[in-house]
Amino acid sequence: MRKFSISPPVAAILLAIVLFLLSGFLPNGFGNDINVAIAQATNIVRLAVFLGVIAAGQTLVIISGFEGIDLSAGAVVTLAAILTYVTVKGEDDKVLLALLISLAVGALIGFINGLGITFLKISPFVMTLGMSGVVTGLIIIINHGNVSGKVAPIMTRLIARPLSPDIPIPNAIIIWIIFGFLMWLLLERSTFGKHLFAIGVNRVTAKLSGVNVTATNLAVYSLAGALAGFGGFLLVGNTGVVFINLGQPFLFPSIAAVAVGGTLLSGGKGSYWGTMAGAIVLTLITSLLTTMQMPDSVRRMVLGATLLVMISIYGRQRGFRQ
């Protein structure tokens, strides 16, 4: 098993393709119709975009190591969605403002996470879990006066619709591909990315090689918050409505997507393209089980089992830090 070396993102994509082809044999599957198959595949990838974007921030904090995790991501998604909803109020020219607010509020919450983790030495798990509670409380306060708002038409057009009638690729997927490229630039082609991997592996080495560990750690949590905010902005553009529990269901899948994508949960190694593959696998499995009319309980079990199987196949989890 150890000699069998295939990179985890490739493994995840292969798994997705095999599952998708098998799903064609289901009673209500796509059968022999190639057009239906393409349409179904496109739709699954489109659905995966939201999980994928929300998992981007998760990827960064997990790479940063030292039990790095962002459990406040779900709550931040909801908050950003609500803020977008009430800011835009159906007007196209408020969309940019709403996007900036989502990013800024997310970044601020992430920054506070970073402060607690860096300076008060609170473990990321506890800090972000606490923050999740605080933000959820905030949402309830805002929501109490019954949020009134509306998504702008341009958002629906940009996020939910295809590029043009002739090219049936949803805009969301285009956005995701550009987003994925930017994430690759950040992780693999920027000094920040290199420093991020370094602090994820060994903070002593990083510091003695001139890396500003404190600043990098603060930046990564701020960035993760901003990306969760961006996820909320996109999500509300797709759903068109907001509710208190909008973002929370994405929290655990966002961590699972990172793990399935082959990023080491102990930090220092991973990729966003792996997370994208992970998001597609998880979305595909969920949607297949839904098509098969499996109850929620079964869906959860299958998702949990998939996560365990994938990670044990990678067999690369390090038990203890040296």
Binding site: S190, T191, K194, A198, V201, S209
Partner: protein, 506 residues
């Protein structure tokens, strides 16, 4: 209770490195034997062989004249051999009592731990050192709250609680103050009278002459002398520890340039540098000078290099080319063209699971723009790896795939890429194979000829004598001696390391 232990012709290899080639030691009831040797002579390996921490590759251990073979420390402990470790083996989040009785807790008939009894027994042990503690030490005190000296005492008590027949004190006095050492020596005399056999490993000459009855000197993994302490002088002992034969041929800069370095301008000036372990260090390094730092391990060499590199806070003044600097972070030191090769390459020098390329470029990414110019980065990394003749599968292979010597080349290589003016080296040849060592020596000579200043701490005295024009010897956080020219001899180096008062300046 009578006991005797003898180790005969012990051989121990770590990979290709021979730590012990002919180690011998005899110890009997009612005596203290001092195990003596310079850095890397095999002292700690010898004590690890006796207490079962390492399994010997050759030779014989005789306990009460019967051959024994210890497969683990527990096996040795069952035979009545206890060790006070120099590297503390305490669990910091447990109490003093829990630590002392760990795995041997007194039980009630119900099978529960008898805390009351455990605490009483701990109190009795603590009484042995009563009056020497800075603060009140209770069985329930957490070990993490203790000072280093108190931890060392708990370590001693833990060993003695086993009521061993043979007690090994491995540098047990290093962190104790004089009162505590005094008390320990009183206890050692009492234990001796009780019939225990004691092996005393120490670097302090004065203590060896006070407490030991006999000595056994190791040099380069061989026992070169044994006898009664009353028959030997300090000077002869140092002579014994000093080897005659040289293993390496060192190539110093051509003799004509040898002295010309002394006219170069001063590069680095340190005035009264003080940290937790350093107690007022002042020194000057010229451009192109290779200044050796000697002394026993843990005398403040590490702190000196880390303080210069801005990694730890310090008091005092540091000048670079006449300008006062105060670094608060290594990257500020790097901007002033300093470089540090830390002492523990796995924990401080490398990103083990990352690629060789990532390791080489970690300090330099800022210079490669955005998006990072990867082709240029790879070319630069390749140039350095060729210059160091690095043996690797490729730049993308993880550092964890490299041998020790090659991994160390990566640590040095990442600085070469930045072309610093001053290198701070913390024992860079430790655990490195012979060929790589020779390559390093060549590199150091080359760098100093290029006008780079180098501060070179080494635990290998031959290296210092062979490579450096001038060596400062640290002892207890102070410069004990400055050796150069005719005074730079192994005898003087070892004498100064051991804190012998007349050692040093010839």
């Amino acid at each position: 209770m009578s006991v005797s232990l003898s180790a005969r012709n012990i051989v121990k290899r770590y990979g290709g490195v021979v730590a012990l080639s002919d180690g011998n030691l005899d110890v009997h009831s009612g005596e203290v034997v001092a195990l003596i040797g310079a850095n890397g002579s095999g002292k700690s390996t010898m004590s690890k062989v006796i207490n079962g921490v390492v399994v010997l590759d050759g030779g014989q251990l005789l306990l009460d004249d019967k051959p024994v073979r210890f497969s683990s420390p527990q096996a040795a402990r069952k035979m009545g051999i206890a060790t006070v470790f120099q590297e503390l083996s305490l669990v910091s989040k447990m109490t003093v009592a829990d630590n002392i009785w760990l795995t041997r807790e007194p039980l009630k008939s119900s099978g529960m731990i008898d805390r009351k009894l455990m605490w009483e027994k701990t109190e009795a042990l603590l009484d042995l050192f009563s009056g020497t503690f800075k603060a009140d030490l209770k069985p329930a005190t957490l070990v993490s709250a203790l000072h280093p000296d108190e931890k060392q005492i708990v370590e001693i008590l833990k060993a003695i609680s086993l009521n061993p027949r043979i007690l090994i004190l491995d540098e047990a006095t290093a962190s104790l103050d004089s009162r505590q050492v005094e008390r320990l020596f009183e206890l050692v005399k009492r234990w001796k009278a009780e019939g225990k056999a004691i092996v005393f490993v120490s670097h302090r000459m004065e203590e060896i002459f006070r407490i030991a009855d006999r000595y056994s000197v190791l040099r380069n993994g061989k026992t070169v002398g044994q006898g009664d302490i009353k028959d030997i002088t300090e000077k002869d002992l140092i002579q014994l520890m000093t080897e005659k034969e040289k293993v390496f041929q060192f190539t110093k800069a051509a003799s004509g340039e040898d002295t010309s370095g002394l006219d170069h301008p001063i590069y680095l000036e340190v005035e009264n540098l003080t940290t937790e372990t350093l107690r007022g260090i002042s020194l000057k390094v010229r451009q192109g000078e290779l200044l050796g730092i000697g002394g026993l391990q843990g005398q403040g060499q590490r702190d000196l290099l880390l303080a210069l590199f801005g990694d730890i806070p310090y008091e005092g003044k540091i000048r670079i080319k006449g300008e006062v600097v105060r670094f608060k972070h290594p990257r500020q030191a790097m901007r002033k063209k300093l470089a540090l090769v830390p002492g523990d390459r796995a924990k401080e020098g490398l990103l083990y699971i990352r690629s060789i390329l990532d390791n080489f470029l970690l300090p330099s990414w800022q210079n490669y723009g955005f998006p990072l110019k990867m082709k240029l980065a790879k070319r630069d990394a390749l140039t350095i790896s060729e210059r160091l003749s690095l043996v690797m599968a490729g730049l993308m292979a993880p550092v964890s795939s490299l041998s020790g010597g090659n991994a160390q080349k990566v640590v040095i290589g990442k600085w070469l890429l930045r072309d610093p003016d001053c290198y701070l080296l913390d024992d860079p040849t430790k655990g490195v194979d012979v060929n790589t060592k020779a390559e390093f020596y060549g590199l150091l000579t080359e760098l100093s000829q290029q006008g780079k200043s180098i501060l070179f701490y080494s635990s290998d005295d031959d290296e210092l004598i062979g490579l450096c024009d001038r060596v400062i010897v640290l002892h207890d956080g102070k410069i004990r001696a400055e050796l150069q020219g005719a005074s730079l001899t192994k005898e003087n180096l070892i004498a100064a390391s051991m804190g012998v008062s007349n050692g040093g300046e010839a």
